[in-house]
Symmetry: C2
């Protein structure tokens, strides 16, 4: 692959020629969502390229109309040999001097859009959303707060692996503001104590820094996917903020799991970094005591670093340290998650999203949620109205050129709630 | 409404003129799924009626092409005033002597299909699936088995209301066989005890008899729906079997909730009984101590009876008693469920499915899952391969003519699992 691109790429861009992440975007002049890839500070409009027949020269044969759809589902469902070939062809279009992007300036003008002029949408029509629990630290740190009843061991928390279905309708692309949710909360006032509950906006709004992967090729009903076949079903990876209201979560979790505490919003980064882009960053996963069907030896995971910061809204005096962690802190690999998920025969559909769970590490600067951070920094507050949470992720060294961009969300105040006067709580 | 129909209706049919449930069906000669209503032992093909312009005489104006779609989503999204009007018009088509169904025998021949010649499909493209916990009995009976850590009170189990997101990709229409799932189970053999877990098919496959309702008109992100507005967003009701593997569920539930224990399959009855059909069966809901935003006075729920039977596969000697219960046993009304669900601002989309949870009553013949029944009938076994589970539901007296049809599923043996020899468990 040549290092020159027909579109200028800043050296510190997360979207180098080595990346080529896929997403769905629209522009003011063309508001219909369509597929693109991110390159430097631009988007390459794949619909324009498809409609102009540019993909007829691609080495892999595929129905290029899938690149005119409003989601990536049909494209990803073609499977990795095809999507890898298309990605490689896009790299060659951008880098080779014989490419029409080099020889036809008007084509380049039609298909290169500045990212700041685009609106990003959800990359997939998401059928199901699953969120795992993968961080040893989360499990240990939070056991006191949320899971008060049993603290046996890590073996207990990870065997069987733990995951939950999540809400799909409220998965949002980066940048959409989050309205502070109301909750049916445990009694905290004298009046409420007489009834046992109160109605109030959450006072403990939190984030969870995660990665998540999208399913490409679907599976059949009651089909299991062995670990070594899982990558055939994974398209790529995004950042995920699994917004959580801890005061709503605690009573819900005993004994049924979080519901309203998490169903109001989850935010993902809009650019899907493919397994092909991640391939050079494969690393060995710590060998752990797992049942044979989950054994995942060799380079089974990826060297992906993640970071988060909270940009305070009004109370600017609050501390604002950067948190850094990495995918290594996940107890399970993506492959193990998918193998476990299908152990029951649970069907996967193209566009299903599977989150890692909070990626906290062991030291205090790598804790990926406020509920954990507050154990080490008691003065740190939960999210205030106006706070913006920003996640980033990248592979290898900071200037490796394979990054995830940002996953952002700002907190808006709760919407007022008219309580019927005759039944005060 | 006249009592005569252009299509013969057996007196004990659940699908009388007073019902008119909507569903999606196909036939061998026309395999494209399309909307229909059930009437007696027939289906009225709404796509044929729409394409022939029959709905131009309907009192409500609506885009009748929605009745040519492969799902009911676009139709239901029109909202209750419209869908009620269409249902009333279909009743008049069937009952009035001036109707083209009476005057044009060839039209009747083209649009009346025998149910036994049709294949039923999922009625909606389901975006999200939520399952509540509503039965006092389940909560109390099963506390010992599954939720060992705390038994405070019913107040504890229902405040806040408890619900969980469920798997959408494995919701199946009645009649699709269920493959017994494998599980990552707690140690039960000497060898497994050394590693703490074993890999085996579930030995405790169970059913849960529930009702569930479909969302019609969607809500906005972060919009709350007050109890008194909820019916504007509910299209109708089906039976739901939330298949559960109890030995997989118990370790998963502590502390994160069921996952593989329930994600392999859920079965629904294919005919959606509308709120209009249920309206004559409205009854008062027991007044319970609830926060003001959940107060639901007046005729807030429905007199719906449910029953289940297990038809044994091979071991015919097993007992086979009928279980009967009713929606009255639900702690929450449909309206309260939807109001609570949107308290956080969780967005609803057309086709979202919300289950009541197991509808067990207080006596031993009204327990709607085997895990509960086994407390009273210790010799009753969990489901065996070949067993078929059949649910039915009806309104008012048995011959009221407003029934739900059946929700059926037969259990198939687990599929063999090749475990890598070098890592025996």
């Amino acid at each position: 692959m040549a290092s020159q691109s027909s579109i200028a790429i800043p050296v510190d861009s997360p979207f180098s020629l080595a990346n080529i992440p896929f997403g769905i975007f629209s522009t003011q002049s063309q508001p219909h969502p369509r597929p693109g890839i991110a390159i430097g500070e631009h988007i390459l409009d794949l619909k324009v390229l498809a409609l102009e027949g540019i993909f007829t020269d691609c080495e892999v044969t595929f129905p290029s109309d899938v690149l005119t759809h409003m989601t990536l589902n049909a494209f990803a469902a073609l499977g990795r040999p095809t999507t890898s070939g298309v990605r490689a062809y896009i790299q060659s279009l951008l880098s080779q001097s014989s490419s029409p992007l080099h020889s036809d300036p008007s084509l380049l003008e039609r298909c290169a859009i500045k990212q700041i002029e685009a609106t990003m949408h959800l990359p997939f029509d998401i059928g199901d959303f699953t969120d795992f629990t993968s961080s040893k630290t989360v499990s240990v740190e939070c056991v006191d707060d949320i899971f008060t009843f049993r603290k046996d061991s890590l073996m207990y928390v990870f065997h069987p692996p733990r995951a939950a279905s999540g809400r799909v309708s409220t998965i949002l692309p980066s940048g959409i503001p989050i309205v502070r949710p109301f909750g049916h909360l445990p009694a905290s006032t004298t009046l409420a104590r007489t009834t046992g509950f109160s109605l109030a906006p959450t006072n403990e709004l939190d984030f969870e820094l995660e990665l998540a992967f999208f399913i490409s090729v679907p599976t059949e009903h009651f089909e299991r996917v062995p670990v070594e076949k899982t990558e055939e079903h994974i398209f790529g990876v995004v950042l995920l903020n699994d917004w959580s209201a801890r005061d709503i979560q605690i009573p819900e979790t005993l004994p049924f799991g979080a519901f309203n505490a998490k169903n109001f919003a989850s935010t993902i980064s809009p650019w899907v970094v493919t397994l092909d882009a991640l391939e050079p960053f494969k690393i060995e996963h710590d060998i752990r005591r797992v049942p044979s069907y989950l054994v995942d030896e060799g380079d089974a995971t990826y060297d992906i670093s993640v970071s988060l910061k909270v940009i305070p809204g009004e109370s600017l005096e609050r501390e604002m340290e950067m948190t850094r962690s990495c995918l290594r802190n996940s107890y399970w690999t993506f492959r193990q998650m998918l193998a476990f998920h299908t152990l029951s025969g649970c069907r996967m559909r193209t566009g299903d999203l599977i989150g890692t769970g909070t990626l906290s590490g062991e030291d205090a600067t790598s804790l990926c949620s406020l509920i954990e951070q507050r154990k080490h920094f008691p003065n740190r507050t939960f999210l205030q109205d106006g706070d913006e949470v920003v996640f980033t992720a990248w592979c290898g060294p900071p200037q490796g050129g394979v990054g995830f961009g940002e996953c952002r969300g700002v907190v808006l105040p709760a919407r007022s709630f008219m309580v019927k006067a005759r039944h005060p709580n």
